[in-house]
Symmetry: C2
Subunit: 178 residues, 2 copies
C-alpha cells in the first residue's frame, strides 16, 4: 500500500530539471537586461567569441542545440546586427558566421554579468564540494553516453572541463573505489 509513496521531490531527474530551469530562467533575466537575448542566442554568441567564423553545424555540434534552433537563433542575431552571415566560400553549403563589432560589444556587456551570477551561485560552495559535484555530473553523463537511446552530447562538452584540477578521470573502464 502506502509503502510505495513515490516522492517527486526526491527523484533525481526532477530535481535536476527544477534546479536547471530555475537557474536558466534567472539567468535569462540577466541576458534580457542587456539585450533581449534568449538562451540559444546567448550560447551562439559565446561560442562565436571563441571561434572566428564558423558554420551552423559547428555550433550545433558544440553547444547542444538543435540544428534548426541554431539556424533560427543565428537569423535573429543577424537581424539584431550582432552577427554576420556569409554564404560560405570554398564550400557552397556552409555558412560562415561571425561576430560583428556590435556583437562583441553586446557580449562584453553580458559576459561579466553571467560570470558574476555564476560566482554568486557558487559563492558558498567549497572547492572540494564543487569538484565532487562536477564529478557526479560527469558520472551521470557517462551512463547516458553508454545508452544508445540517449541523445549524444556535444563534442566540446566531452573535453576536460579543466575547471577541476586533478580528479576528472574515473571512467566506466572499471576504477571503482566505491
Amino acid at each position: 500500500m502506502g509503502k510505495d509513496q513515490f516522492r517527486l521531490s526526491g527523484f533525481l531527474p526532477y530535481r535536476l530539471a527544477v534546479l536547471s530551469e530555475r537557474v536558466s530562467h534567472r539567468l535569462s533575466i540577466e541576458y534580457g537586461k542587456i539585450r533581449g537575448l534568449s538562451v540559444a542566442e546567448w550560447r551562439v554568441l559565446v561560442h562565436l567569441s571563441r571561434q572566428g567564423a564558423i558554420s551552423v553545424k559547428d555550433i550545433h555540434d558544440c553547444v547542444n542545440l538543435e540544428k534548426s534552433r541554431v539556424s533560427r537563433a543565428v537569423s535573429r542575431l543577424e537581424a539584431a546586427g550582432l552577427v554576420e552571415k556569409v554564404p560560405g566560400e570554398t564550400d557552397g553549403r556552409l555558412v560562415e558566421i561571425s561576430l560583428t563589432v556590435a556583437g562583441e560589444t553586446a557580449l562584453s556587456d553580458i559576459l561579466p554579468a553571467a560570470r558574476a551570477y555564476e560566482d554568486k551561485l557558487c559563492a558558498r560552495i567549497s572547492r572540494q564540494d564543487m569538484d565532487t559535484f562536477c564529478r557526479v555530473m560527469e558520472q551521470i553523463h557517462s551512463v547516458l553516453d553508454d545508452d544508445p537511446e540517449a541523445k549524444r552530447r556535444s563534442r566540446m562538452d566531452l573535453q576536460r572541463p579543466d575547471i577541476e584540477r586533478r580528479s576528472a578521470g574515473s571512467l566506466p573502464s572499471g576504477d571503482p573505489s566505491l
Copy 2:
C-alpha cells in the same frame, strides 16, 4: 585578448541545463514507451498518487509547473481517461482532480521504469558523493531563494528530501539537526 576566453562547457548554468535536458529527454522516452506521456503529465500523475483529490493550484504549487501547463496537462490526462475532474464541491472555483483506475494502472506501469532508470543513473555514484551532490544543489537553490528576481520554488521541494538520512543540514540560515 585571448585573456577572456569564456568557456561555455565550464559554465555551471550551461552544464546543468545540458545534463538536465539529456536526462529528461531520455526519461521521456521511458514514459512514452508505456503511454504517450509528457513530462508535465508524468509530474501530475505522480503527484496525484500521493494526494487524493486535489486542485490545479495545488499541483501548480507542488510540482513546479505553470498554472496553464498544469491545466492543459490535466485536460490531456482526462481525455486519455487517466484522470477525473470534478467541478469542485464546497468551493465552486476549485476543481477536484483524482486518478482513475486506468490512471493508477498507468502509473504502476511507469513508476518501476522511472525508478529503475534513476538507479541506473546513480549506480556508480557513492552514497557520500550523492549526499554532497544534493547538498550542493540545495546551496544553489538557497541562493535563488534569496534572490527576489528568481522564480519561487514549490512548497514540496522545500521540505527535507529526507532521502539522505543524516547530512543534509549546513544551511546558511543555521538551523541544523535536520
